[in-house]
């Protein structure tokens, strides 16, 4: 059938869009079960405290309170990374941040549950708290996890590729950039919510707003001491994730335990304040990047040192530590590279993976350093990047295999679309443009827990009504994972989208997919779906060919028909073709799976982390105005070119690019997850933690660059996280073009901009006098 495609590449509305606009999409909090109770979690008011005792008697006396649980009821530690399981559902010995869960109650309604939670008396012995990396690393600092081998350092990674010192010493110019990146958080519009229920046949069902039903399934079974086949996880519509729902959370275990105790369904829904404590958002980082180049603009090497503020628990921190270094080795070729990164525990809500996990912060620093190099060398930063392209098919200096690479085209497209040549260094004072580039993984070659089973599987059934049903473990969190599967089934089986049902993310009914993280679903579940659909397509074509006395390859399934390619006037409705196939071969069903290549990575310890079947590439140009009176930065335009491979559905790919650009803009200009020295969150509300509104949003110009990746389904790669990376440094570089200052602390607050402007004025005035 060659490259002729009738459905892939079409702008297709998301399958559940009509449900979303009519209020019929069912989110977890929309589900009410008969006799359902409401739970509430009691949280620590201390950043660091020993728990001496919990007295629930007053809470239990409140009419309508049915159960209270504490740490002793759920004694098994858990954690998303098997090697760093340092969390308990409810604190057993110590509370490690303000908001840490200590007890949970179940009551007849939300109001009574809240009153009961307040009535639980917890006796704390406050301990000295460390709320910055400096404090946590100071000699004699209080240790947050006594069992941890290296004090408050969760993970320290030092990796070197080539001789960086020699490379930097031989460089014509070096930029030495110290920078900071404040922690930011996801702010999915739907707060976390879960319902636990014990079915009459003894199966524990947890309905949850999660991005990782499979990992939740495993951890629920382990912590609650149930066999996995007695636990069912159902993920309904999820109101956004961005990484904030990609590991198990206290509420999921609490609803399960409380339901097991009371025999009634129990729901817990986080308040917006609790969402800020659950966090797992972007790590704050302090970084130093030294990057060298020769006079002709060729980069010589990069040396990075990164301190990562982790918060109270490990979460994905082991991976974050690696990613902060590993994911800098493209799109520009680094002949020599070294990084030294450590993630440190502090008494604050735990950080974790937020869209562009671990790599957004160093990407900011590196792209600003590259801009500085271009300035020093008198080169156009576009041109400097062009002189350092990683060649297609190459391995990066740290051994990542890049099979398809559209970065050069991304640069060219944003350069042209933005009118770069007419604008760069030519706009009046206060206005400027900046460029940045980046890359990202399309899933990880290695799953979170070691195993060699497929990372994604699909079961498919075709029936005589003409309907195709897809069973898949994928988590649709708004990105359109289910629609992507449906579109592939349509492409292969010739049915219209209205004839496809997707049943997803129910561990009783659907085969495993590892979840919506690391931008893995389109590539992995897409390939699994393609494999399943092609088997059925072959059966249908064979059945039709038999009746038309032609070759199977001459039969095309498209647009609701089976038709003869050589004579499209000969056709039969697709449900008739399905019936022929069922007549010939019996009931129609198939399975497909995808597993990752396990041999493609650097052959050093840690070399598997960052290894992906395919990498996406991005380039942004941002155009800004800077008000020198107020220090306020306004982004006017963002041109965002993204190589996500073949765009299976350009409408949804654009949506990802636009969403990434604006999320990046929020981080660049005002988002900040900040704390009082005591460890108290400075503003766990949406008024204090400001995310972009319609009033902040520039014109965004998404540009799709479509390379044909050899591993991705139809050549598709990721689009959900990559396009965020370039956003922040492009804005930083545009600020420099506008007013000549180098912002080095994210976010670029008006006070920072003003301070730098004043410093520059003083320097300029001094220079003028000399």
């Amino acid at each position: 059938m060659g490259e002729r495609r009738w459905m892939v590449g079409r702008r297709t509305p998301k399958g559940d869009a009509a449900a979303c606009v009519t209020g019929q999409a069912r989110f977890t909090d929309d589900i009410r079960l008969p006799r359902m109770l409401h739970g509430r979690i009691v949280r620590s008011p201390h950043a660091h405290a020993r728990i001496l005792g919990v007295d629930a008697s007053a809470a239990m006396r409140i009419p309508g309170v049915l159960a209270v649980i504490t740490g002793k009821d759920l004694p098994h530690p858990y954690g998303i990374i098997p090697w760093t399981q340092d969390e308990h559902v409810l604190c057993v010995d110590k509370a490690r941040y303000i908001g840490d869960a200590v007890a949970a109650v179940a009551a007849l309604d939300e109001e009574t549950a809240a009153r009961a939670a307040n009535a639980v008396a917890v006796h704390y012995e406050p301990l000295p708290a460390v709320t910055t990396v400096e404090q946590a690393l100071a000699p004699g600092a209080p240790v947050i996890h006594e069992g941890n081998k290296h004090g408050n350092v969760l993970k320290h990674v030092e990796l070197a590729f080539g001789d960086v010192e020699a490379a930097l010493a031989a460089s014509d110019v070096i930029v030495d950039l110290e920078s900071t990146f404040e922690s930011t958080t996801h702010v999915a519009m739907e707060p976390h919510c879960a319902i636990g229920q014990v079915e009459p046949h003894g199966v524990l069902t947890v309905i949850s707003a999660t991005q990782v039903p499979h990992y939740l399934h495993r951890e629920l079974a382990r912590v609650l001491e149930l066999p996995m086949d007695r636990v069912r996880v159902i993920q309904p519509n999820v109101g956004g994730g961005f990484g904030g729902k990609s590991e198990p959370f206290d509420l999921e275990f609490c609803v399960a335990k409380l339901a097991m105790m009371t025999g009634r369904p129990v729901k817990i829904r986080y308040t917006r304040e609790e969402v800020f404590y659950a966090h797992r958002g972007r790590h704050g980082m302090r970084m130093r990047h030294r990057v060298g180049a020769m006079k002709d603009g060729r980069l010589t090497g990069c040396d990075a040192k990164i301190d990562i503020d982790g918060g109270g628990y490990a979460s994905f921190g082991l991976v974050t530590t690696y990613y902060s270094g590993q994911l800098l080795a493209a799109p520009l070729h680094l002949p020599a590279y070294r990084f030294d990164a450590r993630r440190v525990y502090t008494n604050k809500p735990a950080c974790g993976p937020k869209r562009g996990h671990g790599s957004v912060q160093p990407r900011f620093a590196f792209e600003v350093a590259v801009d500085q190099l271009a300035e020093k060398l008198g080169l156009d930063p576009m041109e400097l990047r062009r002189r350092n392209l990683l060649e297609g098919g190459n391995r990066t200096v740290n051994g990542l295999l890049v099979r398809s690479n559209g970065f050069a085209e991304c640069l060219e497209r944003v350069e042209k679309a933005s009118g770069w040549k007419e604008k760069f260094r030519k706009l009046p004072f206060g206005r400027g443009v900046g460029v940045a580039g980046s890359f990202y993984i399309s899933g990880t070659n290695y799953p979170i827990y070691p195993n060699d089973m497929p990372q994604s599987a699909v079961q498919m059934k075709v029936d005589r009504s003409g309907r195709v049903t897809i069973f898949s473990g994928v988590s649709d969190i708004g990105q359109g994972a289910m629609s992507m599967l449906a579109q592939i089934a349509c492409e292969e089986l010739g049915v219209l989208p209205t004839s496809v049902r997707v049943l997803a993310a129910d561990t009783d009914l659907t085969p495993v997919d590892l979840g919506a993280y690391s931008s893995r679903i389109t590539l992995m579940a897409g390939n699994a779906c393609l494999m399943a659909a092609r088997q059925l397509g072959d059966k249908v074509r064979d059945a039709v060919a038999r009746r038309w006395n032609c070759q199977s390859v001459d039969v095309l399934l498209a647009d609701g028909w089976a038709m003869r390619q050589s004579d499209t006037a000969q056709k039969v409705a697709i449900h008739d073709a399905f019936q022929w196939a069922e007549t010939d071969g019996g009931t129609l069903g198939s399975v497909g799976h995808f597993n990752t290549p396990k041999d493609v990575h650097g052959s050093y310890r840690g070399g598997t982390i960052g290894a992906s079947p395919a990498y996406s590439f991005t380039a942004h140009v941002a155009e800004v105005t800077v008000d020198p009176e107020t220090g306020r930065v306004r982004v006017e335009n963002i041109w965002a070119a993204h190589d996500g491979g073949t765009a299976l559905n350009p409408l949804l790919v654009e949506g990802q690019i636009e969403g990434c650009a604006v999320m990046g803009l929020g981080e660049a200009l005002f988002e900040e997850h900040t704390f009082h020295p005591s460890g108290l969150h400075r503003g766990p509300t949406l008024l204090d933690y400001r995310i972009p509104t319609t009033g902040d949003v520039p014109r965004i110009h998404p540009i799709l660059v479509e390379t044909n990746d050899p591993v991705g389904p139809y050549g598709a790669k990721e689009a959900g996280e990559g396009p965020l990376h370039s956003s922040i440094p492009a804005i930083a570089n545009a600020i420099h073009d506008a007013v000549g200052i180098r912002v080095n602390a994210v976010p670029f607050s008006p006070s920072q901009v003003l301070r730098l402007l004043h410093a520059k004025e003083v320097l300029d005035a001094a220079a003028a006098r000399v």
Partner: protein, 182 residues
């Protein structure tokens, strides 16, 4: 301590008795005359979601910051998490469930679907109600007017571009439709 589980039968009876101080209200909700006996502290979003079984209206913050719970009261957009249910006594309330006419989507809904203005869909009901209120007063709004009208509705998925596009497109379609009938 370890887990405690109450004698639920006794407690439940007491609890129900305590919750008894109820208020009678009557309102037109999505065109239907509705009577309800509610506690005085019940908010409008609770009335809609938990008592009237209209879960289309979402709770994103419960403190008037995110706009997900936006509904129309007498045609004006309000944050239903900040309004007491008792305050809608004798008034007209419209939620996202009333936007479509039978199986036919409202032009706003249609445009949101076609233009990709809904991703996770959690902000969408509130967004649609704010947009509807705008189009009632301004039939062909500028982009700036749309951005202002939706300024209190937070969305984290779309970056807003496609949402503003969809409202613009819906206004255009409604205008055309009106011209044809007019």
């Amino acid at each position: 301590m370890t887990a405690k589980c109450a004698d639920k039968a006794v407690n439940e009876k007491d609890a129900r008795k305590q919750m008894r101080r109820l208020l009678d209200i009557q309102a037109i909700i999505n065109g239907d005359s509705v009577r309800a006996a509610i506690s005085p502290n019940v908010t409008l979003v609770q009335l809609l979601r938990e008592i009237l079984d209209l879960p289309g209206t979402k709770r994103g913050c419960d403190r008037g910051e995110c706009g997900a719970c936006t509904v129309l009261v007498d045609g004006a957009p309000v944050l239903s998490c900040l309004m007491l249910a008792a305050d809608v006594d004798g008034r007209r309330v419209e939620t996202v469930e009333a936007l479509a006419r039978g199986p036919d989507l409202h032009p706003l809904q249609q445009a949101f679907v076609e233009l990709g203005a809904t991703q996770c869909g959690f902000c969408t009901p509130g967004m649609l109600m704010s947009a509807r209120a705008l189009l009632e007063t301004e039939s062909s709004p500028s982009r700036e007017q749309i951005e202002k009208a939706l300024g209190g509705n937070l969305c984290r998925c779309t970056g807003y571009t496609k949402i503003v596009d969809a409202v613009e497109e819906a206004a255009r379609r409604i205008g055309k439709e009106g011209a044809r009938h007019g």
